[in-house]
C-alpha cells in the first residue's frame, strides 16, 4: 500500500483522559498516573512549588484583568485556563535556555523571573515589554502571529554551533498560529538544520472566535510528522504532564535529534482579550465542562488527598497571592507616562542624523507651548 494512509483520529472536542494519544499524569480528579514514555521524578516540595506558581499566576492574571476593567491597562490577554501548560513547560527549562513567547505567556514570563509589572507596561502602553530579553532569556512578546517561531529556530541554529553548549530553545504559539506560513517555514528550517528547538503549541481550541477545526482537520501534533520530526499531545491542563513531556522534548533536542512539537491540549477559559466577547461565538456549556478540568484544582486535590500539603499551606499561598496582587496593582497605577521625547530613542543602534533632526524639531515645537 503506497497511499500514505491517514490516522483520521479527529480530535473529539472533549479530548479527555480517554483519548489514548493524550499524555496525562494527573487526572482532573487529582489522581496520579504513570506514563511509560514520560516518567516524572519530582519531590513533594517541587509539586507544592508548581501549585504556588499556578495560584500566583492566576491571581496576577485576575488582577490584571481587573486593572484593565478599571482603565489602568489598554487591554489584557488573559491566561486563564492555560496556567498548567505554561508553568509546566517553562519550569522544565534551564536558566540558560531561551524562550520565545506570544502575547499570552505570562506564566512563562513568571517562570523566567520577569517581574509581572514589567509585563503590564506593555498592556498599559508604556513600552513594548519592560524586561531585558537577554537577561531573562525571554524574547519580547510577539503579537504578529507566528513570526517569532522563525526567530526561535534561528536562535537555536546559532546555539547549535556553539561548542559544548546544549542549551535549547522553546517557542510558544497557538492553534490558530499553526496555519501561518511562518510557522510551517519554521518547521522546515528546524528540520532541515536539525535545530534544538521545542515547538510548544498551546491548543486552547480557539483563535479568537475561530474554532480549531477550521485550522486543521487532524490533531495538530500530527503536523510535525509531515515535516519529519516527532509530535506529542499532552493534557495541557495537567502541569505534571506538561513538565514531563517538555522535559523529554528538551532532552531530545539537546541530544542533537532535532526539533520536537508538543501540542498542549487546553482551553481558553476567558475571553481572547478583554476586548473580546466570547458569548457571541461559543456556548457557556463548553466553559462549564472545562471548569471541571481546571488546571489548579487537580493539583490541589492531589496535594490534599496525598497529604503533601495541608490547609495552612494553601492558606499561605493565598496570602502570598493577595500580596502579589496588591504589589502589582500599586506598581501599575503609579507607573509614570514616558517622556514624549523617549519615543525617538532606540530606533537605530548607531544613530540617524535625520531622526536626530526630527527629535530636535519636535522638542522645539513642544517647548513653544511651554513658552506661550
Amino acid at each position: 500500500m503506497t497511499v500514505d494512509s491517514l490516522h483520521h483520529t479527529v480530535a473529539p472536542a472533549d479530548a479527555g483522559p480517554a483519548d489514548p494519544a493524550l499524555v496525562q499524569l494527573l487526572t482532573p480528579e487529582g489522581q496520579r498516573r504513570e506514563h511509560p514514555n514520560f516518567p516524572l521524578l519530582l519531590d513533594d516540595a517541587a509539586i507544592r512549588d508548581l501549585y504556588r506558581d499556578l495560584v500566583l499566576l492566576r491571581r496576577f492574571d485576575t488582577e490584571a484583568t481587573a486593572l484593565q476593567r478599571q482603565g489602568e491597562l489598554g487591554i489584557w490577554a488573559q491566561v486563564l485556563g492555560q496556567e498548567a501548560a505554561q508553568i509546566g513547560s517553562a519550569r522544565a527549562l534551564r536558566p540558560t535556555d531561551m524562550a520565545f513567547p506570544t502575547y499570552r505567556e505570562h506564566g512563562v514570563a513568571w517562570c523566567r523571573g520577569v517581574p509581572p509589572e514589567k509585563i503590564l507596561e506593555l498592556f498599559r502602553g508604556i513600552n513594548f515589554g519592560g524586561w531585558n530579553p537577554l537577561e531573562f532569556r525571554l524574547a519580547p512578546y510577539t503579537i504578529v502571529i507566528g513570526a517569532h517561531t522563525l526567530h526561535a529556530v534561528g536562535y537555536a541554529m546559532a546555539l547549535q554551533r556553539e561548542p559544548h553548549n546544549d542549551d535549547a530553545v522553546i517557542v510558544y504559539f497557538g492553534d490558530g498560529a499553526a496555519s501561518e506560513g511562518d510557522v510551517n517555514e519554521a518547521f522546515v528550517f528546524a528540520a532541515s538544520y536539525n535545530a534544538p528547538v521545542v515547538f510548544f503549541l498551546q491548543n486552547n481550541q480557539w483563535a479568537i472566535s475561530v474554532p480549531e477545526s477550521r485550522q486543521s482537520r487532524i490533531p495538530l501534533y500530527q503536523r510535525a510528522k509531515g515535516f519529519g520530526f516527532p509530535g506529542v499531545r499532552v493534557d495541557g491542563n495537567d502541569v505534571l504532564a506538561c513538565l514531563a513531556v517538555t522535559d523529554a522534548a528538551l532532552q531530545h533536542v539537546r541530544s542533537g535529534q532535532g526539533p520536537f512539537l508538543i501540542e498542549a491540549f487546553t482551553y481558553r477559559m476567558g475571553a481572547h482579550t478583554t476586548s473580546d466577547d466570547p458569548t457571541r461565538y461559543r456556548l457557556a456549556d463548553e466553559l462549564e465542562k472545562w471548569k471541571l478540568r481546571d488546571p489548579i484544582e487537580r493539583v490541589k486535590a492531589y496535594l490534599s488527598r496525598s497529604g503533601l500539603a495541608d490547609a495552612e499551606f494553601f492558606a499561605s499561598v493565598d496570602v502570598e497571592a493577595e500580596a502579589l496582587a496588591d504589589r502589582i496593582r500599586s506598581a501599575c497605577v503609579s507607573m509614570p507616562d514616558p517622556d514624549p521625547l523617549a519615543m525617538f530613542d532606540h530606533v537605530y543602534a548607531d544613530g540617524s542624523p535625520m531622526l536626530d533632526a526630527e527629535r530636535r524639531s519636535y522638542a522645539e515645537y513642544l517647548a513653544s507651548f511651554g513658552e506661550a
Binding site: G125, D277, Y281, P340, M343
Partner: protein, 327 residues
C-alpha cells in the same frame, strides 16, 4: 436618510453588496459569528450563510491567495485584514499577484477583489494595531487604493469597491468607526460620487488642506478653528490615493497658493511626498510657499501612551498652516 456610525455604514454597505450580487463573498479571520473585531460584518454570516461569509484559517497570505483563486473563477471576494499591521504576510500575494494578474494575462483575467484594512492609530492599542501602510500600496501599479473618511462615504465607497473590476485596497479609519453621520441609504449607487474622485469637503480661499481617512476630521476641525481667526482653509478629502484625482487638488492649490498635507504615516516617503512633489511640479508659479507635510515621525508607531505626540492634531496642522504664511 439615517444617522449611522461609520462601522455600521460599512456593515450596511456590505449587506447591500451581498444582496445585490450572489458572487460576492466575505472572508477573513473572525468575520463570521463574531462579526469581525470591529463588528463591521456583524450579522452577515447569520443572514447569508457560511458560504458567503467565511471564517478562514489564520493565514493572511492564504486569505488573499485563495481569494485571488476564487476571483479567477468568477467570485468577488472581500477580504478583511484584521488590523493594518497584519497585512504584511499577504504583501507578496498583493504586490506580485493581485496587482499584476490582469496585466500579466493581457486583460484576459480580472481579479475583482477588495481588501478591507482598518488603519491608523488613536485607539490606545498595542503594537501593530495602529499602522498607516497606505503608501506601500499606492506605489504599486495595478492596485486601486482608497480610504473613506466618514460614514456616508464608507457606505457608498465599499459598494463601489466591490463593483469595481480591479483589485481595491480599502482603508477604513478605525478611530472613526464609532463616529456618526447622515447616510442616504436609498441613493442609487450608479449615480454616486465616483470612487476614485477627490472631494472638496470645505471651501476656502487661503490655503488647501489635503487629508484622507482618519485625518479628514482633523482637517475639518483645524479649518473650523482657523475660520475663527479669519483664515479660510479649503479641505479636500483625497479619498482615492491611486489613481489620484489630481485635477481637483491642483485646481484648489492653484487658487489658494498654499497647501498642507496631513496623514498619520511617517512623513518620510509617505503619501504626502507624492502630493507635494506633484503639486509643486504643476503649480510651481502659483505656490506662495512649499507644500508642507504634517504626519508621523521616522520612528515605529510608539507605545500608546505616546501616540498623541506621534499623531497629527489640530495644533500641528495649524502650526503648519501658519508656516505656509511665513514664506
Amino acid at each position: 436618510m439615517a444617522t449611522l456610525a461609520l462601522a455600521r455604514a460599512l456593515n450596511l454597505g456590505l449587506r447591500r453588496a451581498l444582496e445585490s450580487d450572489p458572487r460576492v463573498v466575505i472572508m477573513g479571520e473572525d468575520v463570521g459569528k463574531l462579526g469581525g473585531v470591529f463588528r463591521v460584518t456583524d450579522g452577515l454570516q447569520r443572514d447569508f450563510g457560511e458560504d458567503r461569509v467565511m471564517d478562514t484559517p489564520l493565514a493572511e497570505s492564504g486569505i488573499v491567495g485563495t481569494a485571488i483563486g476564487m476571483a479567477l473563477r468568477g467570485l468577488r471576494p472581500i477580504c478583511e485584514i484584521q488590523f493594518d499591521g497584519f497585512v504584511f504576510p499577504a504583501y507578496d500575494q498583493i504586490v506580485n499577484q493581485l496587482a499584476k494578474l490582469h496585466y500579466r494575462s493581457r486583460g484576459t483575467l480580472t481579479v475583482p477583489l477588495v481588501i478591507r484594512i482598518p488603519f491608523g492609530g488613536g485607539i490606545g492599542a498595542v503594537e501593530h494595531h495602529s499602522e498607516s501602510p497606505e503608501a506601500l500600496f499606492a506605489h504599486i501599479p495595478g492596485l486601486k487604493v482608497v480610504a473613506c473618511g466618514n460614514a456616508a462615504d464608507a457606505y457608498t465607497m465599499i459598494q463601489q469597491a466591490v463593483a469595481c473590476d480591479d483589485p481595491v485596497i480599502f482603508f477604513e479609519p478605525k478611530r472613526r468607526y464609532w463616529e456618526r453621520a447622515e447616510v442616504d441609504t436609498d441613493a442609487p449607487l450608479d449615480q454616486a460620487f465616483p470612487l476614485t474622485a477627490a472631494r472638496v469637503v470645505r471651501e476656502g480661499r487661503d490655503v488647501t488642506l489635503l487629508a484622507y481617512g482618519p485625518s479628514v476630521k482633523l482637517a475639518l476641525d483645524a479649518a473650523a478653528a482657523a475660520a475663527e481667526e479669519g483664515r479660510e482653509i479649503e479641505v479636500i478629502d483625497v479619498r482615492s490615493l491611486s489613481p489620484l484625482d489630481f485635477h481637483t487638488i491642483s485646481s484648489s492649490v492653484s487658487r489658494t497658493g498654499r497647501c498642507v498635507v496631513v496623514h498619520e504615516a511617517p512623513v518620510f516617503l509617505g503619501f504626502g511626498a507624492e502630493l507635494a512633489a506633484r503639486i509643486t511640479e504643476s503649480c510651481f508659479y502659483r505656490l506662495e510657499a512649499p507644500v508642507l507635510r504634517v504626519g508621523g515621525f521616522s520612528i515605529p508607531y510608539p507605545p500608546s501612551r505616546l501616540e498623541e505626540h506621534y499623531l497629527p492634531d489640530v495644533d500641528k496642522i495649524l502650526d503648519a498652516v501658519d508656516r505656509t504664511f511665513s514664506y
